[in-house]
């Protein structure tokens, strides 16, 4: 069964562009131009894209807080436009890691409030809130005011809030943005745990490394269109293609010639050069070594790097005409 099935979503914003002191004209911005994607229940899906690509608009439509101008999306079979109430019951959303709470209430009180918004009794809301606070490592801070929480704690509380009504699908808009590595890792661990427990998770991010280690399936959105989709492995094969051979050169000469290599780093004493190869690993290394020797370079080390999702992203976003 599909957890989320977005079909040809279109969204336009009408905004006003100022002209002079009192003048202005209406401008239509096409945020989504027919976005379609889907992913299976129980998987982690990543919607990747640069700033302004349409990620947040997509999330808002899926969360039923924005109506699309065209197309529809289904959360576990329920239409976000026609069955919004049912969608809200089975969907947990984190719009922003550090917003959406009452600053002068404690973490526990905030969660109880949201639990009751989702129809839980006070008793059930409290029980669930305490359980979730333990899950996100905030058990000891449950009675502290929200305004005293650090950014990492707020992000974990936001995740707990999204889970308060035990939704089967959870959508998180940039869940680790601005967080330190320890907090980000903890969020990822919790998301993996939730996925193992059978929850369907969708995240938006422009952190490719995070998407690579977390997601079973990803889609790249750019200028309101999905420009690539598949598993991270599929995308690497399709768009990453060639592997990189990187060599470290010691004491580079002043008149350094790099031939077919591109310079990755040059700090005077060490130069890192890189070349691409579609051949097997042994042949790739052999070819790079031959090239380096012909240029008279002193090689300190050599390594082969498989293309990452980031390489795919740069390839896709940097050269959309190739898609």
């Amino acid at each position: 069964m599909l957890a989320v099935d977005a079909r040809d979503l279109i969204k336009r914003y009408v905004t006003k562009r100022r002209r002079g002191l009192f003048g202005g004209e209406k401008v239509v911005i096409e945020a989504l131009k027919g976005v379609s994607f889907s992913f299976e229940k129980g998987s982690i899906f990543g919607l990747l894209g640069p700033n302004g690509a349409g990620k947040t608009t997509t999330v808002k439509i899926l969360a039923t807080i924005l109506l699309p101008d065209g197309g529809d999306a289904y959360i576990e079979g329920f239409s976000v436009t026609k069955e919004a109430h049912r969608v809200r019951e089975i969907l947990g959303v984190v719009f922003s890691a550090d917003r959406g709470f009452y600053a002068r209430l404690t973490g526990l009180e905030n969660l109880i409030y949201y639990g009751m918004l989702y129809g839980l009794s006070r008793f059930d809301a409290r029980r669930k809130a305490e359980e979730l606070l333990d899950l996100v490592d905030l058990g000891d801070s449950r009675h502290r005011l929200y305004e005293e929480y650090s950014l990492g704690m707020r992000a974990r509380l936001a995740l707990a809030k999204a889970l308060i009504h035990d939704p089967s699908v959870v959508i998180l808009d940039e869940p680790t943005i601005g967080l330190d590595p320890v907090s980000s890792r903890r969020i990822r661990e919790i998301l993996k745990k939730l996925s193992r427990e059978g929850k369907s998770i969708m995240i938006t991010t422009h952190n490719m490394w995070e998407a690579e280690i977390l997601c079973n399936y990803v889609a790249v959105i750019m200028s309101g269109r999905i420009v690539a989709s598949g598993s991270p492995e599929d995308l690497r094969k399709r768009y990453g293609g060639q592997r990189y051979v990187e060599i470290e050169v010691l004491d580079p000469p002043d008149d350094l010639r790099v031939g077919d290599f591109e310079v990755v780093r040059n700090d005077g004493e060490i130069v890192v050069l890189r070349t691409r190869s579609s051949e097997d690993i042994a042949s790739s290394i052999e070819k790079a070594l031959l090239e380096a020797r012909s240029l008279g370079l002193r090689i300190a080390s050599i390594r082969v790097r498989e293309p990452s999702l980031e390489d795919v992203f740069v390839e896709v976003v940097g050269n959309p005409t190739k898609i």
Binding site: L66, R88, F95, R104
Partner: protein, 257 residues
Amino acid sequence: MIEAEVKEFIVRDLWSITAIIILTYVFTGFLYIAGSAFGGSSGSLSTSSNIDPFAYRAVGSSIVVLSMMILSAMGQYIYSSMLSGRLEALLASPISLSAVLVVTAIPMMIFGLSIFMATAAPAIYIALSKYGVITAIESIAIIAIGMIPLFILGFLLSIAIAKLGSPVILNLSQAFIFTFSGALYPLIILPELLRLLPLSLPTYYIAEALRGLISSESQLPALGGVPRLLIVTLAYGSIGSILYRRFSRSIRGGVAA
């Protein structure tokens, strides 16, 4: 759910609530002195009124203070919810925004009533001593009814602030209501054309209904102002309902969100 709203409200506004109660008495006192200085002992009161001048002004000041508080709290509600990210969370939950607004209004109404009783104590004392507990309860009921159009007015302001993205309109509205509330002075002192402004605001009708209640010379309290207050409440309710429907459509269309 109400508890969360109440706690946030009390903690945020505790000191300002205390200050408001004290300042209302200071303000009433100044009005009394100014009125007595310019208009003699009755202090520019309507000639038909036999109400104690201080109580008259206590009613007016309390209504103005109450309307300022409600306008400020409701006026900023949607905008501050947007800024804090709570509006998105509310819209994504199964509960309707209108239910949340009503729930938010309940603690404010309770506080509004408490503050009114604290600031209008002289008037309430007169009502109690003249007509007994029933009339005091009636005056509280009038305030409770009167707060409904005030909340609607605050909500309409809130929509305007959310659309404009700036709370400056709130300050302007408060200045307008302060000047043209119709609760601080008799309408007769205004030029005829300007009298339409207080007549369009609920504050005037609340003051009229309350003063009617405590200034009657007969053994029974005068309820003449109550039907007019109910009509104004209905009118504001109808306008609020139409504009709320338009707003909830536009917010999901992406204009205000």
